[in-house]
């Protein structure tokens, strides 16, 4: 119990540090939830040409995202020639691998994809803190036990995952039209990994 308390305190200190380090000014929470609107339309197929850079390797494919119903997204990655590499179902409480190519069936990789894609598609996120900085409203939420900061101007511009007082992963949404983010970059800072997505529909 004592260790749990100590680690909770440590967590609070370390999370507080991100906001302090980046000079975020705390404000009262105005909305219970922060919404990511980019994958919220069930009538839309979201199809992106993906370019993945891992260290010196570069490879591409198509990332296909579909909202099946509230709190339920399908995330599929195929090669340009149509071969399925993985197929996940992501709900608010569950993560299911519908298919993954044998060569990619590694726990570490699946966990990385799970945390990234859950943060990418999750629509309703419970706000635990609210800040402002420059022209941004910043909302803190927790996804799979990790702190995420949502930077909102006229629209959701970026999500930053933090850990140990540092920025771990950036999700950048640009070229936004009718609630569709035509360009998305997911950039990891602790490993040399970047996923660039360009809408093709």
């Amino acid at each position: 119990m004592r260790y749990l308390l100590i680690s909770c305190c440590f967590l609070m200190v370390s999370c507080g540090s991100y906001s302090k380090k980046h000079q975020l000014t705390e404000r009262e929470i105005s909305n219970k939830f922060i919404t990511n609107p980019y994958f919220s339309d069930t009538s839309q197929d979201f199809v992106y040409k993906a370019n993945i850079q891992v260290y010196d390797n570069n490879f591409g494919g198509l990332l296909i995202i579909k909202k099946i119903e509230d709190g339920n997204h399908r995330v599929v990655f195929t090669t340009e020639m149509g071969a399925k590499l993985f197929d996940f179902s992501i709900t608010e409480t569950n993560f299911k691998v519908n298919y993954i190519l044998d060569d990619l069936n590694k726990k570490l990789l699946i966990n990385l994809l799970k945390t990234d894609f859950k943060a990418l598609v999750q629509e309703r996120n419970l706000v635990s803190r609210r800040y402002i900085k420059d022209s941004f409203d910043i909302y803190k939420t927790t996804i799979l036990g990790k702190s995420h900061f949502y930077y909102v101007s006229d629209q959701l511009d970026q999500i930053i995952r933090t850990g140990h007082r540092k920025e771990k992963v950036h999700f950048l949404f640009t070229d936004i039209n009718n609630n569709i983010a035509n360009h998305i970059i997911i950039k990891h800072h602790n490993i040399n990994l970047q996923i660039a997505l360009k809408s093709i529909q």
Partner: protein, 185 residues
């Protein structure tokens, strides 16, 4: 299709495959997944030169080309070039050989596939179901539609889930000169 019709189609396709030295064709690819509202449609050009040079060039809605040459896969992804050595991957080797066979239609190997013959209007429709368990885990069946000349018009690759990739060829030209230089990426 009765067995005489099946035999006639088989020998027509084999004869056609033997005399085909080059293929140039436009193609439209439909990726069907049950959960999507619409198929994902991509378009491009295919070049084939016997015995084993293949280039798929996607032009719409993105520029992407892939060359299968000497057991290497050369990729040009909107200007970003990379290659994969197929010798290290049995999967890629198998894929390459299946692609060449399916372009030519010459997949009538009873050791590899369970083969079923159907009619589709005036065309022949043949199902090739891989016997090998590993292949069957990617593709439940290849369905090739042949025209009266024994040419492949449609290749449909059906996954075990029922989702499929369908490639429809158009403006196909056989045995026109195709330069080796085309198969660089």
């Amino acid at each position: 299709m009765n067995s005489a019709e099946a035999d006639a189609l088989k020998s027509l396709v084999k004869q056609q495959a033997k005399t085909t030295k080059t293929i140039t064709s436009a193609f439209t690819q439909y990726k069907h997944m049950d959960f999507l509202s619409n198929d994902i449609v991509t378009k491009g050009t295919l070049h084939f030169k016997a015995p084993n040079l293949v280039k798929w060039s996607y032009v719409e809605p993105f520029a992407y080309s892939v060359v299968f040459k000497n057991e290497t896969l050369f990729i040009n992804d909107e200007g970003k070039k990379s290659h994969i050595d197929m010798r290290s991957s049995k999967l890629f080797k198998q894929l390459n050989s299946l692609i060449i066979k399916s372009i030519k239609g010459d997949m009538f190997n009873a050791e590899e596939f369970i083969i079923e013959y159907y009619k589709s209007g005036e065309n022949g429709l043949v199902y090739f179901k891989p016997k090998d368990k590993k292949s069957a885990s990617f593709i439940a069946s290849f369905q090739l539609t042949f025209n009266k000349q024994g040419d492949v018009e449609i290749v449909k690759m059906i996954e075990p889930s029922g989702d499929y990739t369908k490639i429809v060829f158009s403006n196909k030209e056989l045995n026109n000169p195709v330069s080796d230089a085309l198969f660089t990426n």
